[in-house]
Amino acid sequence: MSDTLTLDSTLIAAVLATLLPFASFVLIMVFTRNHRRLSAGLSIGAITVSLISAVFLLVCHWHLQTPLQYFGRWVVSGDIVIPYGFLLDPVSLLMLTVVAAISFLVQGYSLGYMADDKGFSRYYAFMSLFAWAMLNLTIAPTLFQLYIFWELVGLSSYLLIGFWYEKFSASQAGKKAFVMTRLGDVAFFLGLLLALVHLGNLNILELNSPRVAAQMSPTLITVSALLIFGGIIGKSAQFPLMTWLPDAMEGPTPVSALLHSATMVAAGVFLFCRLFPFFSQSAVAMGVFLAIGTITMLLSSTMAMVSRDIKQVWAYSTISQLGFMIMGLAAGSFFAGMFHLTTHAGFKALLFLCAGVFIHALGTNDIFEISRLGGRRLKVPTVCMAIAAAALAGLPPFSGFFSKEVILAALAELDNPIWLVAGLLGAFLTAYYTFRLIFILVVPDQSEPRQPDDSHGHAGYWQMGGPLIVLATVTVLLGFFQGPLENFFGNHICSVSAHTGSHGWLPYIAIATAASGLILAWVEFGRRNSARVGFVERIGWLYNLFSERWYMDRFYRRFVDVVIYRIISGLCTQNDNRVIDAGLDALSKDAVQSGRFVSELHLSMIQYRLLAIFVVVALLALYFFF
């Protein structure tokens, strides 16, 4: 453990990885706003260097035994010290690489996707800002630094989601995302303060060490764990605060890919991994997390079953997969969560980027419309999307299969079988809605006349296609790296792996579940002459329930409108105007009025004056004689 800043290659690489995107953000915003190509070049250059540094760090420290820490004094106030530094351990190294890689690919992809946008430079500036915040978040050594960049991630996601600000819905979605995650962040912040007050500092390694139990009572640990988990709920779109994520699809598609695969929403799960030993000291908290993860996964799966918007489907699936990761982590398997996070980052980015190609080429989000316009003739994205969908559904040999299997194994370890059942149900639903989309897209609709449409010979097609192929390769291959990764984390002192491999039957059941989902989807959508109507859509109220997101959004909207705006804010405003201000105005009016009254005594009819004189004399008499 190194507490002083010595200039070695690791440190230089870390600084380069984390600082360059910020530099490119500043440069773009200040100088090159009007030079599109220069801006893009700056941003991509910076993220390339970050990626190289990250890979360098990962390779150098593949056999890392103890975590490396670097600290520099940043802020000192009283007895509060906030250092700036880096923490290099398997979690952060892997995440750093994943984030840098996905950012790099997305930025490359955006060259084509955003080519015609007038906010091109701004887009790249925000991308750089986002990359900077996210990279720093991953290698933060203290919760403070993590929180700071956590907030910045929220900010840059706000800017990116609301990127097309002329659309009201986009700025609304950005606002919603920001405020809802902020709500979680407040809980996070409070949990952080609670830990700070009792521990004195917020070093992540110290939080994770067993010594914490000596300084904090179990109740306190539970409370602060739950509060910190509030941040995860917000950022990773878990159960009560999940509705911002589907709306966040208003942003450009590459942004969705970036936000919902490896970065913003994954930050929540990443935080869980970061504080896994700390969280696992409280069984109650872990139970709550497990429940929240399960609810989230099931709810969002049902929502995905009825959506017609291609990005929305993937958004719901993101929520559900995040819930799945939380389940795995809360079930006690650190590796399960982390592994699924990694694989998910790959295939979810791929899914979004493929969707982006369709949207870009065909100009619509509706899957039926895409199908009608001949989306399947875009070969590369169709194939890539099928691969990614298979991974998402958990079919072997794609990466998702392996990571899902690990999570299911962790769930099987639990005493209560209900969690495993829920997990399998989730897997089934996932396979169903994934392939529902795929089949709608791929199988030509017999009822519609075919339209020859060759407009897809698009300029940015291959710029977009490149990253797709890279990601598809990763998706296919990553699953086979389970062993090395497990070793990598095995070195990590915090790793508490629950995976014992005693459930030989589990992979078969998992495959069977996924396959049954696939078959159901095929029966309803893929078959020749199929009705192309899902079983849910036949049940009116269920369809309404699912497509209205279980009425959660309406509830929030109503809640904010009525309780926040009308009742509390309205009352406060009324109090300001009617009570405080009016009271003061009345006071001043009364003062003026009493002045008038007193002046009456001087100016009015002589008789009043006389009377006043007499009264005063009488009162004086009373005063002097008694």
Partner: protein, 490 residues
């Protein structure tokens, strides 16, 4: 007369006063000359305050750049200026806001001479108050800074300006009517025949009961100026009515006078009274934070929103002061500085927009990012600062205050932190309805802010970012005063 070295502090005052005199001597038709003179003299004060900020010896701490002159001997009135860790940030803030305020009013064309003359007078009072260590002078400077405000709002203001000016003046005079008896009371009770704060603040000068009595008077008196909750209604109205440069000074600096007065007079002289009333201060501050945010949520006027956000932010300052701890004081003073810069930026940005669109009603604006992206960016960044986004200066002040409050008043701390969501909500609402949305026809011809007009905003923005990225610059300074002070408490 005792001066150690060159009297920098007096030099600031003198440059203000000389500027004032020169402005008065220039004929009123020569508007450009007047503006240049104002810019030059305010620039001098800015440079001096920056110099002071960096020349202060942090390792030595304590009072530096001391200038004393026994002015009136019999009652013990001393012209006593000094700089310490508390007032240097305020002086720097005043210098920055003063200079940028002058630049912001560059486009003024109505009674330019009178405007800048009053502006200089106002700032003279503010500078004097921040640097003075003598109760008598503090009171005099306080009133000097109040009186030009009335004219500046009543003559150059916009919305309901007469009402606002009158209300503001009455409120602030009511405040000074509470401060004066408290000062006289302390002066009389000490029996030391001096107004010198450094003498009066020696432990044992006042009994606990005297401190309690004097502190509550001082707290409410200065608190009115700091927009402490039930006495806050003058400030949004005043912000709205005042011309932009004045709003900047008003929200950026003048409200700080209140908080600084509580610190310098109330807390320094009556530490026991401070500890006694701290709970009350905390309750009012928390109410102010939450309440300001909620009221800001349903405002329809751009400047009203900023005004109420100021109420909320000054609540954070009050909460910091109420915690009776090093962190709280650090956070409070930092927040004063950061909020001053931030609000100045907000008003400066609004000023540009208002001068072009001639409306401050949020519903009438919209889509401004299309036509003036840079001007919008200034506002949006300031709005982000107001939400407490990290890497902008306000974050650190809020952070320190919340940490300190969480230790002392857990419930209050929690409520104050929760108000962050509301303040995010209302700021984003404003940003969304003002700058986002489709392009509007009536604003299609507007030009973006050119470099020379953007300069004040750039300066403020840079300050905001510099102190956001490297807050230690300020915390180290404040600590030289706050740590000895807290350690010296009985």
């Amino acid at each position: 007369m005792e001066f150690t070295g060159f009297p920098y502090l007096t030099a600031i005052l003198i440059s203000c006063i000389v500027g004032l005199v020169v402005i008065i001597l220039i004929p009123g038709q020569r508007q450009v000359q007047i503006k240049w003179v104002s810019a030059v003299f305010s620039g001098i004060t800015l440079l001096l305050s920056i110099y002071l900020f960096f020349a202060y010896d942090k390792s030595r701490g304590g009072l530096q750049f001391v200038e004393t002159y026994r002015w009136v001997k019999t009652p013990g009135i001393t012209y006593f200026n000094a700089a310490d860790g508390f007032n240097l940030p305020m002086l720097l803030l005043t210098g920055i806001v003063f200079f940028t305020g002058v630049l912001t009013m560059w486009e003024l064309d109505k009674r330019v001479k009178e405007f800048f003359a009053f502006y200089f007078l106002l700032v003279t009072g503010v500078f004097g108050l921040f640097m003075s260590m003598d109760l008598f002078f503090i009171f005099v400077w306080y009133d000097v800074s109040l009186f030009p405000m009335y004219l500046l709002i009543a003559v150059w203001g916009t919305t309901r300006k007469q009402y606002a000016a009158m209300k503001l003046t009455l409120y602030l005079l009511a405040g000074s009517a509470l401060v004066l008896p408290a000062i006289v009371f302390l002066y009389a009770k000490s029996g030391l025949n001096t107004f010198d704060i450094t003498v009066l603040m020696q432990p044992g000068t006042f009994t606990a009961a005297e401190q309690k009595f004097a502190f509550i008077l001082l707290y409410i008196g200065f608190g009115i100026l700091a927009a402490v909750w039930p006495f806050h209604t003058w400030s949004p109205v005043g912000h709205v009515a005042a011309p932009n440069g004045v709003s900047m000074l008003h929200a950026g600096v003048l409200m700080k006078i209140g908080a600084f007065g509580i610190l310098r007079v109330g807390i320094f002289l009556c530490p026991q009274g401070w500890q006694y009333w701290a709970q009350l201060m905390a309750v009012l501050a928390v109410i102010g934070i939450v309440y300001g945010a909620f009221v800001g949520l349903s405002q329809t006027d751009l400047k009203y929103v900023i005004g109420y956000s100021s109420v909320s932010h000054m609540g954070i300052v009050g909460l910091g002061l109420a915690t009776v701890s090093v962190d709280g004081l650090n956070g409070a003073v930092f927040q004063m500085f950061a909020h001053g810069v931030m609000t100045a930026l907000l008003f400066s940005a609004v000023g540009y927009i208002y001068d072009r669109t001639h409306t401050k009603v949020i519903a009438e604006l919209g889509g401004l990012s299309h036509v003036m992206p840079v001007a919008s960016a200034f506002f949006i960044i300031a709005a982000l600062a107001s939400m407490g986004i990290p890497c902008l200066a306000t974050f650190w002040g809020e952070l320190m205050v919340f940490i300190a409050a969480f230790k002392t008043y857990p419930l209050g701390g929690v409520l104050a932190v929760c108000a962050l969501v509301i303040s995010a909500l209302f700021m984003l609402r404003v940003v969304q309805h003002t700058f986002y949305g489709p392009r509007k026809e009536q604003y299609a011809q507007l030009a973006d802010v050119p470099f020379d007009l953007g300069l004040p905003r750039i300066i403020l923005l840079v300050v905001l970012v510099v102190f956001g990225l490297y807050p230690s610059l300020m915390f180290d300074m404040i600590e030289t005063a706050s740590i000895p002070f807290i350690n010296g408490l009985p």
